[in-house]
Symmetry: C2
Subunit: 416 residues, 2 copies
């Protein structure tokens, strides 16, 4: 008889029919004796409809008023779902962010949760109510409505789970879990029963858009077990949790992540002197361009070649900035390439197993793929390669690390 | 430099274009140095859209959740209007019912305002903000969202004007004021510069649907000067206010009201005994049917004929109830007639002038109209006539009381 927080996104509540299906699911859990808090997004399309209205008035509408406007989308869903639950004889009550009281800072349209008042929720849970909370929104200390930014409903769910000490936070989506890699690229991609918060972060940052990165960080910080599940299919989904010691002993690779959204910039013949990296990347940062992989090679003529990657959309701006920098520091030349991709092997297991990197490079070499750049973190090794080799690389790595097969030592927790 | 509360209904804010026009109007008043609180309804069609969503789930949705659902409509408008004002360089802030704090009882979907917290509004007004408040909604003492029922935005505006001691509450509509009678019936119908609260109540209850009756009652109780104006045309509108002594001296008739929505029921040959009216009307009241005009004639054979009118929609139900009653009290017969209409002469002036009734009856007799029933109040005389004579009666009365002509002694206040 545990407390579960369940989050349903915009597609899962995109029509009355789907809201009824969600109500069936929630009612089933309630009938199982669990206490339930449901977090919902706006019905799909609704947030865009509201933003469209605002944009007819102002190109950059007042952020405070944007929050007042778009927060209505989630409120509508909470009321409809509470009605659908009531219809099924399930006691249910809707709450908006201000009613719960999800206290945030006052950074309108991208606020951060500071505190959640759990008194009222606990009282209603005790009385047997299913509580339906509007995701993505809160209220600042002056009572102004705030929103957490797009996708913030995941964060609301995790924050509520942390505040209420829920035994699990279930994120219902349009996929049935987290996969070893994109099933559209590798036929044998396998749903993971379990993945650690850190691995999920690395996978998410690489384009596995199952979960908001902020929500995963939050869950990791407060150790809230997260489960990704399909809204309308049965199945255990994927549990995202802390690693346990037993698993650290095995060199388990969680998955192969990749990202096509990269472009490479190289500045050649830079006079090698202290602070050169700062000279080059400072202006890029000031232009609000995020840099991903960075590599610097020192040549023997006291010049250096400096290469880094940026998001593909940022390439034209980055190139412009870099050309000015090149003139200033008397570099030889700027080259760019947007036909690249990043492929990563992710897994906490590699911390204690040095062989992962060499196995990765060997697997790529075997299929004749040249590695342009390498970067590593504690639980991830990434390489930049030519974009056209991306699928080939992912398949080679997936097979080399035997990700098609269920690891022997893993006993998946069953879903609550 | 006074404080004005302005209310714009659903049609006035029914599109972004209209919201922009409203913003122009409000900005104009603000530029004139006034402090402004604007109350808005949901964009026309929006409330129905939301109700439709709910009705797909439940025939009778949970009232608490209905309020959560439909209250979003007004919130959307507040945000959009605040943006439109900001765009014009006018400082503006939206407030929903809970933020203001418009405290109501907990009668969901038909709540009554108990108290308005004016602290926050005063602080923002002092800082020069135009405050845009969501009409029609409030919050109960437990923080649950409530709504005042359809048309409640007028009530919100008046209640705010009373709480803030505004010098005027302006209700913007699709007509340019209150008329002596329906201009579609009488060509010479004239816009009134001024009308008393009591007269307005009588006119409103007779189908002049310019203002919500509750709002007029509220305004009268707290002596809030109300002005009805056209949203998109210039003009002074009609001021609804207390009568002043000077005007009581003249037998001014404010207007001719009428109502087609009536049906007549007669129970014949009722044994005349004490309590007979209660015997007949008790069961009608229990069936939630409102009775309007009542007339009882005692015949000389110790029986009585009892006649009353009800709303036309209620006639079948009322007839059914009455037939049972007739059996019980051994009355002779029940007759019904739904081809009737009510015409009323309304004016505080008639209090001190006995001649009004006889002038009314004379005017109707002159055009050959038979009066079926008569009922009088302090400031109104109503007659029930055959429906087919309605227009003829209204024209005859309008002309007899010389309502086409501006009264000499009236100096209209100019609009603020």
């Amino acid at each position: 008889m545990s407390l579960i927080v369940q989050k349903f996104g915009g597609t899962s509540v995109g029509s009355i029919e789907r809201i009824e299906q969600v109500a069936d699911k929630v009612a089933g859990f309630r009938a199982g004796g669990h206490s339930i808090v449901v977090v919902v997004s706006a019905m799909s399309g609704e947030t865009n409809r509201l933003i469209e209205l605002a944009s007819e008035i102002q190109e950059h509408p007042t952020p405070r008023e944007m929050d007042v406007l778009v927060s209505t989308g989630e409120q509508v869903t909470t009321a409809l779902l509470a009605m659908a639950l009531n219809k099924r004889g399930v006691k249910a009550k809707s709450y908006n962010g201000s009613q719960v009281r999800i206290l945030t800072d006052d950074a309108h349209t991208k606020a951060r949760i500071k505190e959640i008042d759990d008194a009222r929720l606990h009282a209603d849970l005790k009385e047997g109510f299913v509580i339906v909370v509007a995701g993505f929104q809160g209220v600042d200390e002056h009572g102004n409505i705030t929103t957490l930014g797009r996708g913030g409903s995941d964060t609301t769910a995790v924050a509520l789970a942390a505040a209420l000490k829920a035994s699990e936070c279930q994120i219902y989506t349009d996929v049935d879990g987290v996969y070893t890699t994109d099933p559209r690229v590798v036929d044998g991609a396998r749903r993971l029963d379990k993945i650690t918060f850190e691995e999920m972060l690395e996978m998410a940052s690489m384009g596995s858009k199952v979960l908001q990165i902020r929500a995963v960080e939050f869950a990791g910080k407060y150790n809230v077990p997260l489960r990704v599940l399909h809204s309308f299919q049965e199945g255990p989904g994927t549990l995202i949790t802390l690693e346990d010691d037993a698993e650290m002993e095995t060199p388990t690779i969680a998955g192969i992540a990749f990202n096509r959204d990269e472009a490479k910039l190289t500045i050649l013949g830079v006079p090698d002197m202290p602070g050169v990296a700062h000279h080059i990347l400072g202006p890029i940062g000031e232009a609000n361009i995020e840099v991903d992989v960075i590599v610097q090679n020192v040549a023997d003529d006291n010049t250096t070649d400096f290469t880094f990657t940026v998001g593909r959309n940022d390439l034209p701006r980055a190139e412009e900035v870099l050309k000015k920098v090149a003139e200033e520091i008397k570099a030889l030349e700027v080259r760019s390439d947007n036909k690249i991709a990043k492929v990563s092997v992710v897994g906490v297991g590699m911390r204690s197993h040095a062989g992962v990197a060499s196995q990765m490079f060997a697997a790529l070499a075997e299929v004749g793929i040249n590695i342009q750049m390498i970067t590593t973190s504690e639980i991830k090794i990434s390489v930049i390669i030519e974009e056209k080799f991306l699928e080939l690389a992912v398949r080679a790595l997936h097979s080399s690390f035997e990700l098609e097969e269920e690891p022997n030592d893993e006993n998946a927790d069953s879903v609550i």
